[in-house]
């Protein structure tokens, strides 16, 4: 890490997040579930409020002031996101509901048009169901073979195995930039280069990366990149699919209807240009505008600073959790390759009991399989506990987590 990186003024940041001041069970909230969804700053809340309260009208359709103004704000939001992820142009940024929809869009539109029986898709053992099931369904339907990049004992992708997996039959490679369970940060560049060398397209699930670290899709050279707005300070119901121009242009639409056509007659139709071709119907334009505000907020902090802060928090959490007797950290313990999600187990305590007991102390963590059942099967664990962090997480909250874990152990006599 360069020492020129600004660090975050967390106390100042927390003032922007009203929900962090809530109390649960009479105790201050310690919110450690941002990997599932982040809290929202007042800047985003007021962007939503403003958009609905002033000059509200549907986009694209009106010739009157309100519609033009809203369309303007909507276009600006797309431009902000374009800059935020380093996309070449707004036409490469397709608005969708969330990463799940983005990945399904690729599986349905690209997958069903360009892949056929006998082709292969390479994915990994650590994928979220959102980047697993759409490919499984496609594979079953079309007679496509799925192959998995295995994990090393440390919980990183075993890229030594990549070359043997990358046969000429592989048409698509997909993986999570950051794992929502193991926290593993995978450097996408080498994987993308090697996949391109065999002519495969690459889909990156950036759901746990885009909110937490600098992302430059052009530098990565991926063909698609998926993210969810609600995990990066934005509202629910808005996400992004980045796609390269040539692939997006070659793909058929995913859904059809209003906005996405350029002309319709009784017996023919021509599609609108990208990205609108993939945005049938009235879009979540207010949410898109608010996602623009979220991206402004993150850009002002600086994504290098966001990552540096989270690295510090996760390093501290690893250090503290390691002291707890019976605690096992799942995934890498090197904070350089671990995003802000720390998954663990406590010996002889089921994660759900732990979650319930921590909740009584005001500490919100997640317990379960985190929508990654195949990974949990591979790990041999039915469920795990996960504490995850963001720009507003303070080190004292890690202390609160550890204290609550000790208390739970005491209550359960473990």
């Amino acid at each position: 890490m360069k020492d020129t990186i600004r660090s975050l003024d967390v106390a100042r940041i927390r003032q922007d997040f009203p929900a962090l001041n809530e109390r649960v069970h009479g105790r201050p909230l310690v919110f450690l579930d941002s990997a599932a969804s982040s809290q929202k700053p007042i800047q985003v809340l007021s962007a939503l409020d403003q958009a609905y309260r002033t000059s509200y009208a549907n986009v694209h359709r009106g010739v009157y002031y309100n519609s033009e103004r809203t369309t303007d704000l909507y276009d600006q939001a797309r431009e902000k996101i374009t800059r935020f992820i380093g996309a070449p142009a707004p036409e490469n940024v397709v608005f969708v509901r969330n990463a799940t929809e983005a990945l399904n869009l690729v599986a349905y539109s690209y997958g069903r048009h360009f892949l056929q029986a006998g082709d292969e898709i390479v994915l990994t053992e650590l994928e979220h169901h959102a980047n697993f099931v759409p490919w499984q369904v496609l594979a079953r339907e079309r007679g496509i073979r799925l192959k998995f990049i295995p994990l090393t004992p440390q919980g990183t992708l075993d890229l030594a195995r990549l070359d043997e997996l990358l046969t000429p039959r592989v048409k698509l490679v997909t993986f999570a930039h950051v794992s929502n369970v193991l926290g593993t940060i995978t450097d996408p560049r080498p994987v993308i280069e090697r996949a391109h060398a065999v002519g495969a397209k690459v889909v990156v699930d950036g759901c746990q990366a885009a909110p937490h670290m600098p992302v430059d899709v052009q530098a990565l050279d991926c063909d698609f990149y998926a993210l969810s707005g609600h995990k990066m300070l934005g509202p629910t119901g808005i996400g992004v699919l980045y796609g390269k121009t040539d692939v997006l242009e070659a793909m058929p639409p995913f859904m059809t209807g209003g906005d996405m056509i350029s002309s319709v007659t009784f017996d023919s139709v021509t599609w609108n240009e990208i990205p609108v071709k993939f945005e049938a119907g009235t879009p979540a334009f207010v949410e898109a505008i608010a996602l623009g505000a979220a991206v402004d907020y993150l850009a002002a902090l600086g994504m290098d600073a966001v990552r540096a802060h989270e690295r510090e928090v996760v390093a501290y959490a690893i250090e503290r959790l390691t002291e707890v007797p019976g605690a096992t950290i799942i995934g890498p313990t090197d904070p350089d390759i671990r995003g802000g999600a720390l998954t663990f187990t406590i010996k002889d305590i089921h994660p759900h009991d732990l979650g319930t007991l921590l909740d009584r102390e005001g500490v919100a963590i997640r317990a379960g399989h985190h929508c990654a059942q195949p990974l949990h099967v591979r790990l041999g664990l039915p469920a795990t506990a996960r504490a995850s962090f963001y720009i507003y997480t303070e080190l004292r909250e890690i202390d609160a987590l550890i204290e609550a874990i000790y208390k739970a152990k005491h209550t359960l006599r473990k």
């Binding site: 069970h25 089921h350 994660p351 759900h352 009991d353 319930t356 007991l357 909740d359 009584r360 317990a367 379960g368 399989h369 059942q373 664990l381 039915p382 469920a383 209550t411 359960l412 006599r413």
Partner: protein
């Protein structure tokens, strides 16, 4: 919430009643909750006329709520007529647990009853003339 993990529940977890499996059981049924990996198997021996539970045992693994509530359920249904057992409902189990549960945890508490009822139902279907 305060006293969810109180003595009674922990006692059932640590010293489960009717724990184990039965040989030559009339009913053996197992289910798991894929969300959290809780797993419960229940074995039942019926009275000769098939009207009552003569012997019952459960085994499995999972969270405290699932295992302790299964243990409580065993105590509750042992030697009871089948007709009564079939009438047991969600609220009866919640009453046995005796402390409020969040929606996610209610599922854990219900696993034992679900397994028992499914097993009984299958038995009755199979033995209908």
């Amino acid at each position: 919430m305060e006293d969810l993990y109180r003595e009674n529940l922990l006692d059932h977890y640590e010293n489960p009643r009717h724990h184990g499996t039965l040989e030559h059981a009339d009913i053996s049924h197992e289910e798991s909750n894929p969300l959290c990996g809780d797993r419960i198997r229940i074995d039942v021996k019926l009275s000769e006329d098939g009207s009552r539970i003569a012997e019952i045992a459960f085994s499995g693994d999972g969270c405290i709520i699932s295992q302790a509530s299964a243990s409580m359920l065993m105590d509750e249904v042992d030697c009871k007529p089948i007709g009564e057992v079939q009438k047991l409902e969600r609220q009866d189990v919640l009453d046995m647990v005796g402390a409020p549960l969040t929606a996610a945890r209610v599922k854990c508490a219900m696993l034992g009853l679900k397994v028992l009822k499914a097993g009984l139902y299958q038995y009755l279907v199979d033995h209908q003339k």
